[in-house]
């Protein structure tokens, strides 16, 4: 219980930090950048929207603290402002339509990368210091250093533009409307294959190395030697003794992996014009649509924070030691 409260406390602190960064950043910059934006959109906005935006970005004579309270109050009521690119659509509406795409793509890709990378890590540890291990670790180290956008562009160039095997953009075929049917699901999967591969491949290395090193660490422990001596088969030692225990620290790897995946997803969505939050963030940055940018940053951060919180809870559930000492 104490552990849950502890983690919940951390979730609240980090959420508050994300919210506050969002508030401070535009006000911190020399010559409030929102002024330029307001000038640009002067003619296109109604006076009420303009006033709201001025308030949102601190172009007002109110003291900072009042602005901050106002901002927090608005957030608690779910008011994220109005997008300038898609005026007069609200930021919340854009988030609601784009977030599911990102969660689906990033979630599937992360799970695949975690499972595949961990399995490869077990295999590499099994063959440690042999050629297979060397090829696996060096190979995934190389793929881990490939920028997501580069891999995505290469795949597009070869598989979509040259061979026409995959679509070049978007998340479903333009001739269909989103609905819960099998053909539609098919086009969604088909469209998300290349983006998913682009996220999975660079992510493999982290999981593989983490698991491999944990395994090798574990293989030096006495109970492994004991298991070998009492005649457990090598496969049994690897999978039932070493891997099960080496798997635990890999769960904490999720926190790091999520950050990496989020960065990757943003870039991959831009490469494939995939209509998730990353693509919208790119649109917002290009159009200097600060309200949309703020809202997207907030929702991306909060999603990551909540995911981390859930992983922490899971870790506490499967490893009682974490409940006593707490995982950092």
């Amino acid at each position: 219980m104490r552990y849950i409260l502890d983690r919940l406390g951390f979730l609240l602190i980090s959420a508050w930090a994300a919210v506050t960064i969002n508030f401070i950043l535009p006000r911190l910059m020399p010559g409030n950048p929102a002024l330029l934006m307001v000038d640009r959109y002067q003619g296109e906005l109604g006076p009420r929207a303009l006033a709201a935006i001025k308030l949102q970005f601190g172009i007002t004579s109110q003291p900072m603290l009042t602005q901050y309270w106002h901002y927090l109050g608005n957030l608690l009521q779910g008011h994220l402002g109005i997008s300038l690119t898609y005026y007069p659509v609200s930021v919340s509406h854009i988030i609601a339509t784009s977030l599911p795409w990102t969660l689906g793509l990033a979630g599937t890709a992360t799970v695949i990368a975690a499972i595949l990378g961990t399995l490869l890590g077990i295999f590499a540890a099994w063959k440690r210091n042999l050629r297979t291990d060397s090829i696996l670790t060096t190979g995934t180290t190389f793929t881990g250093a490939i920028p997501h956008q580069y891999l995505g562009l290469l795949l597009l160039l070869i598989l979509s533009y040259h061979f026409h095997w995959f679509p070049v953009a978007h998340s479903y075929s333009a001739s269909m409307t989103p609905q819960w049917t099998f053909p539609f699901a098919e086009t969604v999967v088909y469209h998300s294959l290349l983006p998913a591969v682009t996220i999975v491949v660079p992510g493999l290395g982290g999981w593989l190395l983490h698991m491999r090193n944990n395994m090798i660490q574990t293989l030096g422990d006495d109970y492994i030697v004991f298991a070998q001596a009492k005649g457990v088969s090598p496969r049994g030692v690897m999978l039932r003794h070493a891997a099960r225990n080496a798997l635990l620290p890999s769960v904490t790897n999720f926190a790091m992996a999520i950050g990496f995946v989020v960065g990757g997803v943003l870039l991959v969505e831009v490469v494939f014009s995939y209509p998730g939050v990353g693509y919208q963030l790119f649109t917002a940055v290009q159009n200097e649509d600060y309200p949309l940018m703020q809202g997207l940053f907030l929702i991306i951060s909060l999603s990551v924070l909540v995911l981390n919180f859930l992983v922490d809870l899971l870790y506490g559930l499967i490893d009682p030691r974490a409940r006593r000492t707490g995982v950092a």
Partner: protein, 325 residues
């Protein structure tokens, strides 16, 4: 661990000097690197890129921004890597891009490592309230996703000079490494040799600089190298989104222009290929050298076989002990 492996080929090492800890961790790294094929390959690639960066003005052949060549030419004797859609020489861009990407990478990594040291190490040494606050601060920054934060910051700043890029990347990328350094300090500050130094009346500063830092050198180097890789990837990401200095030439801006200049539509693979390959190769070289570092800090990774004879003997004793009960 590393002290025990000192053998007669390394007689020049001052084994009995008061700075033995320092020599063992730094030279230990070099020694492992000498034996480790992967680390050697990494080192050679690394030095190669550094040389390309330094010698850029000499070996580039053409100006990277000159647009007076025939556009979209595949690689040939005149233009080794072909030309861009605007008629620029891709080889010249790659060479100059190496220089500017490395500068941003090293600069940003220096900034973020400095932050990691100040925020992760110093409070951890003294412990107490300040350490708890800083540790929480670090953990918060670890979970707030880095690239979105950089994107938002860069979008507000409206200034894409090299220095600004370094600062933005450096200020957002220190947290993960601060935590690693902190963990190391926490284990070191209560070791016998630190207490011995304390009891002989050494000042905190002296202990930090002469006793603790030498033992963290390999970790520190690893931090610096991961920082460089992270910074180069981050810069390429920001440039790809159009937030970098797009009039300059870097590996990231090469990707941006290849994507936005129609390299895909025209099938101009030579335009797309070099920029990202440079990042991936350079990143791999850093990671390969880090393997050697990992083996210094974690000797178990270095063992060739887990079933040495005395281990089997020990296991036998364990078995017997159990059967007697």
């Amino acid at each position: 661990m590393a002290e025990m492996t000192v053998n007669d080929t390394n007689k020049d090492l001052p084994n009995d000097s008061p700075h033995r800890a320092r020599t063992s961790s730094l030279f230990g790294w070099i020694k492992v690197m000498k034996k480790n094929r992967k680390a050697q390959v990494g080192f050679i690639i690394f030095v190669g890129f550094i040389l390309v960066g330094i010698l850029a003005p000499v070996i580039a052949r053409y100006s990277p921004t000159a647009t007076n060549f025939p556009p979209l030419e595949p690689p040939n004797a005149q233009h080794w890597f072909g030309t861009t859609g605007l008629g620029q020489d891709v080889y010249a861009q790659f060479v100059w891009g190496t220089r500017s990407s490395l500068i941003v990478g090293f600069g940003a990594s220096a900034i973020s490592t400095l932050f990691a040291v100040v925020i992760g190490m110093y409070p951890a040494y003294w412990g107490g309230y300040l350490d708890r606050v800083m540790a929480t601060f670090t953990n918060v920054f670890i979970v707030i996703p880095g690239l979105p934060l950089m994107i938002v910051a860069a979008a507000y700043v409206h200034d894409s000079s090299t220095l600004t890029m370094m600062v933005i990347i450096g200020l957002t990328g220190w947290a993960g490494r601060a935590r690693v350094l902190r963990a190391q300090i926490l284990t070191l500050r209560n070791r016998e040799f630190v207490w011995a130094a304390r009891l002989t009346g050494a000042s905190d500063r002296r202990i930090l600089v002469h006793e603790i830092l030498p033992n963290m050198l390999s970790l520190f180097m690893a931090s610096l190298m991961y920082g460089i890789l992270g910074a180069i990837l981050a810069e390429a990401g920001l440039e790809f989104l159009g937030l970098g200095n797009l009039t300059g030439v870097s590996w990231g801006s090469m990707l941006y222009w290849a994507n936005n200049g129609g390299a895909l539509l025209n099938g101009a693979w030579w335009w797309l290929l070099p920029g990202g390959l440079g990042i991936a190769m350079f990143g791999t070289s850093l990671a390969l050298m880090n393997f050697a570092l990992d083996e210094v800090t974690n000797p178990r990774l270095r063992q060739m076989s887990t079933l040495s004879r005395d281990r089997i003997v020990r296991a036998w004793h364990a078995l017997r002990g159990e059967s007697f009960q």
